[in-house]
């Protein structure tokens, strides 16, 4: 049994942390997160150069990672900086493309010269593949995709669409998008498919899409753990400095115990994320990823609420970095299925 990162992952983790510390302080982050294209293209390429995207796929596929722990290593660091670069989109897309043997495109994506997004879910429907109505026929896509992460400024968009009753994967470079910042920063878009030219990558991609989403969910869990660690430390620091009634509020036992309960839950989140990462390639993947995303969702929302409350008004301000961590942690629960959806999966897996 060994809970330490391998040498390679430790190096990637250190490099990435140093890069983000130097290049992505909170002011830079907030500017990037809310101004179109909602990330910094040069920084995206620099991060690709550091090997961030290569870590998402295996050596066979042209990368140097691809395991659960590679993903968690990268995303925990991204979470520590609440980095808005669209790595979630890149992760899910590059793994799909790599599995389909799109070696040339995978190489471009790993290098950062091409950036992909993945458009699956639709307005007026739940987040289930079964609810997809977008369709592909005669080389054209028709339909509407909503909340497509990383779509602003993306070079290619992978689209899940129906043809002959199956849900396949299609690639377009010409889809119209309505771009917006997300409330917690970073970009997403509505994707409008109106006889949009596309090529078919695979005719039946349901299983592959589920696997890609589970990799995305695992990434979100790790991102949350990184953000929670930092937010807890910020809160502790704040409480040691903030004076009320002639004493630092860190001495008030009622507040201390609440912070302790959060600290314990963060360790629980770290553990369940490790467990899910270890199962990313097993036949228990779906269950353990759902468990992890459920616990992360429960904890991250509660943590955010507690942290804002413990800071008082200061935790409510845009100027205070912790507020952005709290927002990100809350909104993570909205991505790729919230705690409730994951809990249903666990209940049905049992």
């Amino acid at each position: 049994m060994d809970f330490n990162l391998s040498e390679d992952r430790r190096m990637l983790s250190d490099t990435l942390r140093r890069y983000l510390t130097e290049q992505y302080d909170i002011e830079t982050r907030n500017k990037a997160a809310y101004e179109a294209p909602f990330y910094v293209p040069e920084k995206y390429i620099e991060m690709a150069d550091l090997g961030v995207i290569g870590a998402f796929v295996t050596e066979d596929q042209g990368g140097f990672g691809g395991q659960g722990f590679d993903i968690t290593t990268v995303f925990e660091e991204l979470g520590r900086a609440i980095c808005p670069e669209p790595m979630l989109a890149s992760l899910m897309s590059v793994r799909l493309l790599a599995d389909l043997g799109q070696d040339a495109m995978v190489e471009d994506i790993i290098g950062g010269s091409k950036r992909p997004a993945l458009a699956v879910f639709e307005p007026e429907a739940g987040e289930r593949l079964a609810d997809i109505t977008a369709s592909f026929a005669n080389g054209k896509l028709t339909g509407r995709k909503s909340v497509v992460y990383g779509a602003p400024n993306a070079d290619v968009i992978l689209v899940a669409a129906r043809a002959d009753g199956k849900i396949g994967l299609y690639l377009t470079e010409t889809a119209e998008t309505i771009d917006y910042a997300m409330i917690d920063g970073g970009g997403a878009a509505e994707v409008i498919l109106d006889n949009t030219a596309a090529v078919c990558l695979a005719e039946d991609s349901e299983a592959a899409l589920e696997a890609a989403f589970d990799a995305g969910r695992l990434a979100l869990c790790a991102e949350a753990v990184g953000a929670m660690d930092v937010l807890l430390a910020m809160t502790v620091d704040f409480m040691k400095q903030r004076q009320q009634f002639g004493r630092p509020i860190a001495v008030f036992q009622a507040l201390q115990h609440r912070v302790v309960d959060m600290a314990i839950e963060i360790e629980q989140c770290r553990s369940i994320t490790v467990l899910a990462a270890s199962h990313l390639a097993s036949d228990q993947r779906a269950k353990y990823v759902a468990m992890a995303k459920n616990l992360i969702g429960r904890t991250s929302v509660k943590l955010s609420e507690e942290v804002i409350q413990l800071h008082g008004g200061i935790g409510m301000t845009w100027e205070y970095p912790g507020a952005h961590y709290a927002k990100r942690l809350t909104m993570i629960d909205h991505q790729l299925g919230d705690a409730l959806i994951q809990l249903h999966k666990v209940m049905h897996a049992a």
């Binding site: 917006y180 997300m182 409330i183 409510m316």
Partner: protein, 395 residues
């Protein structure tokens, strides 16, 4: 035991409903429903409409231009205005300074200031909190030093809500630096046009501008602007804090938001069926509804007691804590109900055709974050727990 309103009270409720139906401007109502921030004109417009029936000064006696309502009537108005998606009244003049002047002000101050609150000439804001004095308000440091017939004020106030629209501010200032914490504080009125005042916006977590910092540098204010006696301002602050506030539990907002949540959950598809049919989500709604039914009765119990005696600090603290918890839980469930669609920011700037998120729920996440303030301001829920604990464990 009788939980019913009287016939007279029910008639009054009908009158309020009719008034709101006929007079609440549709554009303002829509903004409130959609969590779109109101602008200055919206507030002024709504105050003027309420004042057209003499309903603005809710707690004021008739002789000063108020409606002379009892607790139940104020409760009914609070509930019905919330249900109708009318704006909250801007409390600082009407519900705070007004009652303070009526109790502590000189006749001259009443005559000078009260009319301006009702007729909309003056927009008051509040200068209480400071960067180092939040929950521990009595540690405030802004100083007012006597100089002839003036005070000279130096210091900084913060969390000044809607200060950007105000022309006046009432402040707690320290007039005796030597006195113990609560004893050297005075309550003073300041014209925001006075030289030396600078107001700066504070951007909130969800991106909105509703609070401000106010900086005072050698601001000269006549001594006659003092309300009550010098160094007795804490008495006034406490009066306001424990003053019976009809609407503190916010049950009207909760009832309204629960209905909206149910409607949203009924039209939101999740896992292939309406979200409201998901037992795990339905459980959250049902538990919240039960909590709400209970606080509604608790609120009426307190109202009924305070019609005979005064409501204690214990009771308003209890209503504050439980009321904010319920509203915040509803905000959270509404945010959750949107799923991935809660993401866009700022929701109101998106093209109308951009997303199939119901217009009235598009800003749900922003509203959720903004309403975290409910358990912080006006005495955080932790401070309220301390107040109750003091009472519970006394003796």
């Amino acid at each position: 035991m009788d939980l019913q309103f009287t016939k007279e009270e029910e008639d009054f409720r009908d009158e309020v409903k009719a008034f709101l139906r006929d007079n609440l401007p549709k554009d303002i109502q829509r903004k409130v429903r959609n969590n779109t921030p109101l602008d200055k004109a919206d507030y002024e417009n709504w105050h003027a409409i309420m004042q057209s029936r003499n309903w603005l000064g809710m707690t004021w006696p008739v002789e000063h231009g108020g409606p002379g309502w009892n607790n139940y009537q104020r409760h009914i108005v609070g509930e019905e205005t919330a249900l109708a998606y009318a704006p909250r009244l801007v409390a600082f003049g009407v519900a705070m300074l007004g009652p303070v002047l009526l109790k502590f002000g000189t006749e001259e101050q009443k005559a000078d200031i009260l009319p301006g609150i009702l007729d909309g000439i003056d927009w008051w804001c509040q200068g209480y909190s400071e960067p180092g004095a939040g929950s521990d308000l009595a540690s405030l440091k802004t100083r007012a030093v006597r100089d002839g017939d003036d005070y000279i004020i130096n210091g900084q106030k913060t969390w000044t809500t809607l200060g950007q629209y105000a022309n006046k501010i009432f402040c707690l200032v320290r007039t005796d630096a030597a006195a113990k914490a609560q004893e050297g504080i005075s309550f003073i009125l300041v014209d925001l046009d006075t030289p030396g005042i600078e107001m700066r916006p504070i951007k909130l977590i969800e991106g909105g501008h509703e609070v401000n910092e106010v900086f005072f540098t050698d601001v000269r204010v006549p001594v006659s602007n003092l309300v009550g006696k010098e160094n007795e301002g804490w008495t006034i602050a406490k009066y306001l804090l424990t003053h019976e506030r009809t609407n503190i539990a916010g049950t009207g907002f909760a009832i309204r938001d629960l209905a909206a949540l149910k409607a949203l959950a009924a039209k939101t598809i999740r896992n292939g069926k309406p979200l409201i049919e998901d037992p795990l989500f339905a459980k959250e709604i049902a538990e919240t509804e039960i909590d709400l039914e209970a606080i509604r009765i608790t609120n009426l119990r307190v109202l009924s007691e305070s019609e005979t005696g005064a409501a204690s600090g214990y009771e308003s603290s209890m209503l504050k804590i439980k009321g904010t918890v319920i509203v915040q839980r509803l905000n959270s469930l509404t945010r959750q109900a949107l799923g991935a669609a809660a993401a866009p920011f700022p929701a109101e700037k998106l093209p109308a055709n951009a997303l199939t998120v119901p217009e009235d729920a598009a800003a749900a996440a922003a509203a959720y974050f903004n309403n975290r303030k409910l358990s912080i301001f006006g005495g955080s829920n932790e401070i309220q727990r301390n107040i109750i604990a003091k009472d519970l464990f006394r003796g």
